[in-house]
Symmetry: C3
Subunit: 155 residues, 3 copies
C-alpha cells in the first residue's frame, strides 16, 4: 500500500467516525501527543493566531468530545464528509505530511442537507508497522470562518 493510500485510509476513518457520531472512536485515531487545530484560510494567510478550535494535546481533544456530547442536545444535525485523494507533501523519519481537500455537509432536523464547510486537511501522520497511521498533528484549513453553525464542531 502506497503512502498516499495509507493517508487516504486514515482520512476515510476520520470522516466516517465523525459522520457516525462515534467521537470516542474518532479520538482513537490521534496520537497521545497530538495537536488539532481548525483555522480559516484567511487567518492562516494573514498569520493571525485566531483558531476556531485548538487542542494542543489529546486531553484537550477528549474534553472537547465531552462538551460536544452535551452541545449536541442543542444542535442536532448529522454530518457527512467527502474527502479527496491525499497528496504526500513530505516524508521524514516515520512521519508523513499529507494534504487532502474535503467537503463537509450537514443535514438538519428538517431533513435538509447543506454544504457546511470546504477546505483542506494538513495532517502529520505517525506511521506504524501493520496498522493505520496515527494523527500526530491535524490542521483543518476551512475556506471560510463564517460557518453557519456551532463553531465547536470538528470538521
Amino acid at each position: 500500500v502506497s503512502e498516499a493510500a495509507q493517508a487516504d485510509d486514515v482520512l476515510a476513518e476520520y470522516g466516517a467516525r465523525l459522520d457516525e457520531d462515534r467521537l470516542e472512536a474518532w479520538l482513537d485515531l490521534f496520537d497521545e501527543d497530538c495537536d488539532y487545530k481548525i483555522v480559516s484560510r484567511e487567518n492562516l494567510r494573514r498569520e493571525l493566531p485566531l483558531a476556531l478550535i485548538w487542542c494542543e494535546n489529546k486531553h484537550m481533544l477528549r474534553d472537547r468530545v465531552v462538551s460536544l456530547r452535551q452541545a449536541n442536545i442543542y444542535n442536532i444535525h448529522t454530518d457527512r464528509h467527502v474527502i479527496g485523494r491525499s497528496r504526500v507533501i513530505e516524508r521524514s523519519a516515520g512521519i508523513l505530511t499529507v494534504e487532502a481537500s474535503y467537503a463537509h455537509f450537514q443535514t438538519d432536523q428538517e431533513g435538509v442537507s447543506r454544504l457546511f464547510s470546504v477546505g483542506v486537511y494538513r495532517d502529520r501522520l505517525l506511521l506504524r508497522d501493520g496498522g493505520l497511521p496515527l494523527i500526530r498533528q491535524k490542521l483543518v484549513i476551512a475556506d471560510t470562518a463564517a460557518i453557519p453553525s456551532l463553531l465547536s464542531t470538528p470538521i
Copy 2:
C-alpha cells in the same frame, strides 16, 4: 491492488454509469443474486422497514431501469456522483464489505446544479479473479429521506 482500491474502482464505475445515464451498463455491476436498497439514516436508526427503493434481486433492478427510462421523460436532470475513499469493514470468503461516503448532485434543465443527496454506501462485493468485483448487496443510507426530486432514482 489493495482491497480498498478494488472497492474504489467498483464505486467509481457505479457512479459514472449512473451519471452517464448508462443504466443497462450500471446493471452489469450487480451480481444476479443481488439486493439493492435505499434507506434514510433516520429509518435505519429506528429500524423502520420503510425503504425509498428496495430491489431484492436483479430482476427487480432491471424492472426499475425500465421504469426509469419512462420516468425520465418527465423529470429531466443529469446526475453527478463524487464518492470518497472506501473503508474495508469486513472480509470473509470471497466477500468484501465496504463503506464509502458519497455526494450526489443534480443539474436541472435550467442549468442549475444542486446538492441532491449525501450519505454513505454500504456494499457487499463479490471478489472475482482478474475482474471488477460484483455488487452482491448495496445499501444506500441517505442522510435524509426528504429528497427534492423523484424518489425512484438510484443514488
Copy 3:
C-alpha cells in the same frame, strides 16, 4: 502504484494547485504539447463546437494564466476541488486515458462557500518513469454552462 492511483495523484495536484492559486505550478502539470478545453455536457452531447475555454497548446494556457492574474483583481474568490476516484478508460503506448468526477466549490469575500461546478474530467496522461504523469489533453465536461461567475476560470 496502479495506473488509477497515478491518475489520482495527478488530479489531486491539479486541484490543489488551482485551489492554492499556484497557477504557474499548475501549468507545470501540462505537457508542452497539450490541449485544455472546458465544455458543457449539453454542448458535447449536441456536438456543438462552443467551448467555455479552449487552449490548444501550452502557450495559450500560459496566456490564460497571465490574464487570470489580472482578472482576479475583479473577482476575488477562493476555489476548492474535491475529485473522485479515476477510472482508466484506455491505455495505449505511454498514454493513459482516465475519467474522474469533480465537485468545484467557491468561497466569496463574504465568506460564503457555494457549489460552483460539477462534472467530469477526461484526461489523457503521458506516463513518465519515476515521475507524475503529464497532462497531454484535458477535457473538462461541466454539467452546466450556466456557471455563476467569471467564465475564464479553470475548473
